[in-house]
């Protein structure tokens, strides 16, 4: 029974990683860049919720406002910071992304100070007891949201014009252009979707533990990136599998007293093992270089 609870908790925290990892993997697949500022969008979303709560009061409005704000922020970052570098070396883009990450963190610190905020209204406390199992409401909510997002995103990508165009652009941007697809627009849409998902992930984190600082998104961002690489970066199902796997490993490791202090190490070891065995990730495709 204990193991079952651990598994459910793992799937839940893995769900949050998966939602964040989807943002990394979609942007990588389509814009061919690692957006290291993605984790910080989560933090910005957190502050957006905090500010809305101060002004209006209701958590639902706060989450919606944060989603909209993050979406706009994602689009603006792409237009201002990344779009001028299209065609530049990947290293320049990567460094720019790290720069944007620092910029967001520092701005948050300047505006909101360095002591953590406690948006307690976002917290969902309480738990349901099934037999001997005790599962937090927040865990159940996270699982539900994860499933909904995964299904909705898969359906969107598979059965819509924009979704198909996204797959086409991720595979061959030039050929897609020549088929009349506005690739800039597809990239913008990808950033918008990724940023909304980041805001949702931010809420899922704060409803468990309502403590908000300017580094809220750093560790989850890195772990979600790890999850995306484990699953195969660029692959949407890969990000889902990688995120869930990482969450489950994390919770199992926590539940074993000898391993608990080394949980982060255990998680990143998974990355190393996967990269050794299958460098393209679990669901990633091997790219054969043509000679």
């Amino acid at each position: 029974m204990d193991f079952l609870v651990t598994l459910i908790n793992g799937l839940s925290s893995g769900g949050t990683y998966a939602i964040i990892a989807l943002g990394y993997t979609m942007v990588y697949g389509i814009a061919k860049m690692l957006n290291f500022a993605h984790g910080d969008i989560i933090m910005v979303g957190g502050y957006a919720m905090y500010v809305t709560l101060m002004a209006m009061g209701h958590p639902v409005i706060a989450v919606c406002a944060a989603a909209v704000f993050c979406m706009i922020l994602g689009i603006v970052i792409e237009k201002v910071a990344y779009k001028p570098l299209r065609g530049a070396s990947p290293l320049a883009v990567l460094i720019t992304a790290i720069g944007v990450s620092f910029l967001l963190q520092s701005l948050a610190q300047i505006i909101f100070g360095s002591s953590p905020k406690m948006p307690l209204k976002l917290q969902i406390s309480g738990a349901v007891t099934i037999g001997a199992m005790r599962i937090d409401y927040s865990t159940i909510l996270t699982l539900a949201v994860t499933v909904i997002i995964m299904v909705a995103l898969s359906v969107f990508v598979k059965y819509s014009k924009t979704g198909r165009a996204m797959v086409a652009v991720s595979e061959d941007r030039d050929a897609a252009l020549l088929m009349g697809i506005n690739t800039n627009r597809i990239i913008t849409i990808t950033f918008a979707i990724g940023s909304v998902l980041a805001a949702v992930a931010g809420y899922l984190m704060l409803c468990k533990a309502p403590s908000l600082s300017n580094t809220l998104g750093s560790m989850p961002g890195i772990k979600a990136f790890t999850a995306a690489v484990i699953g195969g970066i660029g692959s949407i199902p890969g990000a889902m599998v990688g995120g869930l796997l990482l969450g489950v490993v994390e919770c199992i490791s926590y539940s074993i007293p000898a391993l608990a202090p080394f949980t982060d190490a255990v998680e990143f070891s998974i990355l190393i093992i996967v990269l050794l065995v299958k460098p393209s990730g679990i669901l990633g495709k091997m790219r054969r270089e043509k000679v």
């Binding site: 059965y159 014009k161 797959v167 086409a168 050929a175 252009l177």
Partner: protein, 265 residues
């Protein structure tokens, strides 16, 4: 769309593509040097020449991949010089590639549906919220894509991944995908490359068929002389980026200059 700038030749036939002194230079190399093409409606025009003559570069200029150093080109009288590739495609120039570039992770029918993207309106807002127009447009995409696949006899493979098709069928699918963008002018870059004689024959039949069925104007690059002499009405021969000869196929192919450029003296 009304277009009052349409060009006509002296016999009153509409000119679909006109290039005016088209040039592109890469560093010191003049890859395409003052090329003047004039292709009339419904014509099947061939662009031939030895390797490195600049044929594919002409295609890249005509699709907006490269910007010409000087010169202009017009589709049905409309100046498309300097327009980005997606825009040129929307205006009516579609192409296939010398090395097949299908979307391999999409199925056969989805590849054609991507080509149809600009033909059927549906905004992302409608897709995200799955409004009625989303479902209607999705059905329309599917049906129109299926129709096109039937023309190319690819409908039985519609749910296969594009990468799993045999080579000859992949070439056909590329043409179908290009046709899906509803072009006025279709550019085919070595459509018969790597095909066996049977496949080449089948391809020639297909090209003839889409000309008849859709009244399509086609410009093609090809090395297979059997195909060129079999179906092209007119030819331009490029050599080192310049026009070596042009005119009716039979005349051009018997031109001693052309023979010299191809097989040497």
């Amino acid at each position: 769309m009304a277009n009052d700038n349409k060009l006509y030749d002296s016999d009153g036939r509409e000119i679909v593509l006109k290039t005016d002194q088209l040039c592109i230079q890469f560093g010191g190399l003049k890859a395409v040097d003052h090329v003047n093409l004039e292709i009339k409606k419904g014509e099947l025009y061939g662009l031939i020449g030895p390797n490195g003559a600049g044929k594919t570069t002409v295609f890249n200029l005509l699709t907006g991949v490269y910007k010409p150093t000087s010169g202009r080109f017009y589709l049905c009288g409309e100046d498309l010089t300097g327009k980005p590739p997606a825009e040129v495609n929307k205006k009516g120039i579609a192409r296939t590639f010398q090395n097949i570039r299908l979307f391999n992770n999409l199925t056969v029918i989805e590849n054609v549906m991507v080509g149809l993207s600009n033909q059927i309106p549906c905004s992302i807002f409608e897709s995200v919220f799955r409004l009625p127009r989303h479902r209607k447009s999705e059905r329309e995409y599917y049906e129109r894509a299926l129709e096109l696949l039937k023309v190319f006899k690819l409908d039985e493979y519609k749910d296969h991944l594009a990468s799993n098709l045999p080579y000859g069928k992949q070439r056909k699918l590329e043409i179908a995908r290009a046709m899906a963008t509803n072009p006025t002018l279709l550019l085919l870059d070595e459509p018969a490359a790597g095909m066996n004689p049977n496949e080449t024959q089948e391809l020639m039949d297909d090209i003839t068929f889409i000309r008849k069925e859709f009244g399509m104007t086609i410009l093609l690059i090809e090395h297979d002389m059997r195909l060129v002499s079999g179906i092209c009405e007119k030819l331009t021969v490029l050599n080192f980026g310049t026009e070596l000869a042009k005119g009716d196929t039979a005349e051009v192919l018997n031109d001693p200059e052309v023979i010299k450029a191809y097989i040497g003296e």
